[in-house]
């Protein structure tokens, strides 16, 4: 092969023009990249219209003083693989998702199995507002004022039998309306589970709304779970079935990657995800990171559930 060094054949002015071009590009790049650190402390959406960050009751923070995440963020940044893995793509895809009529079958090892229309749940159980921190296993968190009712109330009504040890939740399977469910990579429908005593804890909330408004499809309408001391993926959305069972249910994420996603999935800064640290998190709307709290700051309410358990083994 005949090799010619290009330095022998490239006229000098050509060299220099190219050099200038690259230099100019690099300069522009660095100044812009550095600029990126400065201008704003809260990069979350600021489209001009006032953001909703206050509940109907006038609250603006959780009990630890953390600011509520704006309604616009909570309703436009969603991890909901049934629609898409693109967090900002969920809201547009879920826009026309039909949430009525909707029934929830509660059964399994119970004395009074029953199918509820979602509107019955709204009237039968007193709806209350709860401001919860929501910590995603991916390392980001938000603070959300949910409305709903304790799961315990529903379970008491159907009366679990003495054999019932776990609660198994199932999301609707509707690949026609949920394009993500057409992806065969995951074992649809979404399944989640709680130990019965966890489910009876007063923090476990069945959610029907947020910020005083009816729950939107992208947030799991018409009925979802909120278990704030666990990673977000435990808070299953669009529930159609709740079963009391004897054996530990295998959740969708346990089936997809059992060494990474366990049944308990309690927020725990000392037990890292095998691939990334869980010691810190980024609150959406804040730059920088904050320390993740044990049980997401709900240790007083839930630590008793795990006394004597090895939380590293039961991740």
């Amino acid at each position: 092969m005949v090799k010619i060094r290009s330095s022998e054949i490239t006229p000098e002015h050509l060299f220099f023009s190219r050099r200038r071009f690259l230099k100019a590009g690099a300069l522009a790049a660095t100044s812009l990249a550095l600029g990126a650190c400065g201008p704003r402390a809260t990069p979350a959406s600021s489209g001009g219209e006032a953001e909703t960050t206050t509940t109907a009751a006038g609250k603006t923070t959780d009990e630890l003083g953390g600011a509520l995440t704006p309604y616009e963020v909570v309703t436009n940044y969603n991890n909901y693989y049934e629609f898409t893995v693109d967090k900002e793509g969920v809201a547009p895809l879920a826009k026309d998702f039909p949430t009525s009529p909707w029934t929830v079958q509660v059964g399994g090892l119970v004395k009074n199995p029953k199918t509820y229309g979602v509107e019955d749940l709204l009237t039968k159980f007193t709806q209350e507002e709860r401001i919860y921190r929501h910590r995603c296993v991916e390392g980001w968190s938000i603070v959300v004022p949910w409305q709903g009712f304790p799961l315990a109330g529903l379970l008491q009504e159907v009366e679990p039998t003495s054999d019932a040890r776990f609660v198994r939740f199932e999301t609707i399977y509707a690949p026609d309306q949920m394009p993500g469910q057409r992806d065969p990579w995951y074992n649809w429908p979404y399944i989640e589970g709680l130990r019965l005593d966890e489910a009876m804890n007063n923090l476990a909330l069945l959610v029907t709304g947020l910020y005083g408004k009816t729950l939107l499809p992208q947030n799991g309408a018409p009925l979802r779970l909120a278990v704030p001391w666990k990673y977000g993926f435990k808070s299953i959305k669009a529930i159609v079935k709740i079963d009391l069972v004897a054996e530990m249910p295998i959740s969708l994420w346990m089936a997809a990657a059992s060494h990474e996603y366990g049944f308990y999935a309690n927020v725990n800064p000392t037990v890292d995800h095998p691939r990334w640290s869980q010691a810190t998190e980024r609150r959406l709307g804040e730059l920088g990171r904050r320390k993740t709290l044990m049980f997401n700051g709900y240790a007083d309410e839930v630590a008793y559930l795990y006394e004597g358990m090895d939380l590293r083994a039961n991740y």
Partner: protein
């Protein structure tokens, strides 16, 4: 002393002659093609397209930053966008050599360095976003994040391997290092698999895309193996149509010039 324009014309004439003599001596059309394209423009349209294409993701990023279109989790978004762009550009830079040796698309060689440097540029943004924007240069957190998490560790290693390559990308370095330059730049054959592993280990369960990129990188690296190259250099496997048309183009160009 000759005026500037005349000098250039003289240079062009010399190059043209050199080019023709190369072809007469039966040299690879690659060299001839490179010289021919140099004769025509400072930057070929293809080069301009590559530079613009490589800068577009950065332009879009800046645009989205100032327009608040980086989702509610902008740091995450910047990290994933810069990482993805760097990966694509790295793969494209690795594709240049096979494009020339296997498909005869020799113009690719002219953009190889630029693609590599753009990849490095996005890798730097990616790294700075991680250590600066995400971890606020907190060394304790970074030590934990980089050295205790395997995906971050291999990503960091890939970044380190790219530094000497970027630093020695100049013509002067090529000259100074001579044969060792080529040996040094084979380091990219380590970088690419590290980058793929980095990607593979950071995704959540669905590894289809990392595997796709892995397959492309594997193919591009395999095409460099002497055994495989020998097989592919069989005339039947090359694309004679492209080469013929290229030679014809050059001949036409020359006849126009001499006319």
């Amino acid at each position: 002393m000759l005026p500037k324009g005349v000098l250039r014309e003289a240079e062009r004439r010399a190059l043209r002659l050199h080019c023709i003599s190369l072809r007469v001596r039966g040299a690879q059309s690659k060299d001839a093609a490179i010289i021919t394209s140099m004769l025509q423009l400072r930057f070929t349209k293809f080069q301009i397209a590559v530079h613009l294409g490589s800068l577009i993701p950065f332009g879009v990023l800046i645009w989205d930053f100032f327009g608040d279109h980086l989702t509610a989790n902008p740091i995450q978004e910047i990290t994933s966008r810069t990482g993805k762009t760097a990966l694509v550009l790295l793969v494209l830079s690795l594709a240049c050599t096979p494009l020339s040796t296997v498909l005869g698309f020799h113009a690719a060689l002219k953009v190889r360095r630029a693609l590599g440097l753009y990849a490095f540029f996005y890798v730097c943004l990616h790294f700075l976003t991680f250590v600066g924007l995400d971890y606020g240069f907190d060394l304790e957190l970074l030590r934990e994040a980089i050295f205790e998490k395997r995906y971050a560790l291999v990503g960091f290693a890939a970044f380190l391997t790219l530094i000497p390559l970027a630093l020695t990308s100049t013509k002067a370095s090529m000259k100074r290092l001579g044969k060792r330059w080529k040996a040094l730049h084979k380091l990219v054959y380590l970088t690419a698999p590290l980058v793929i592993i980095h990607y593979l280990w950071l995704v959540k369960s669905d590894i289809r895309q990392p595997l796709l990129f892995g397959a492309i990188v594997a193919l591009l690296l395999l095409l460099r193996l002497p055994t495989i190259r020998r097989v592919l250099k069989l005339p039947a496997l090359r694309l004679p149509a492209f080469r013929k048309s290229r030679v014809k183009e050059e001949a036409q160009h020359e006849s126009r010039l001499s006319a």
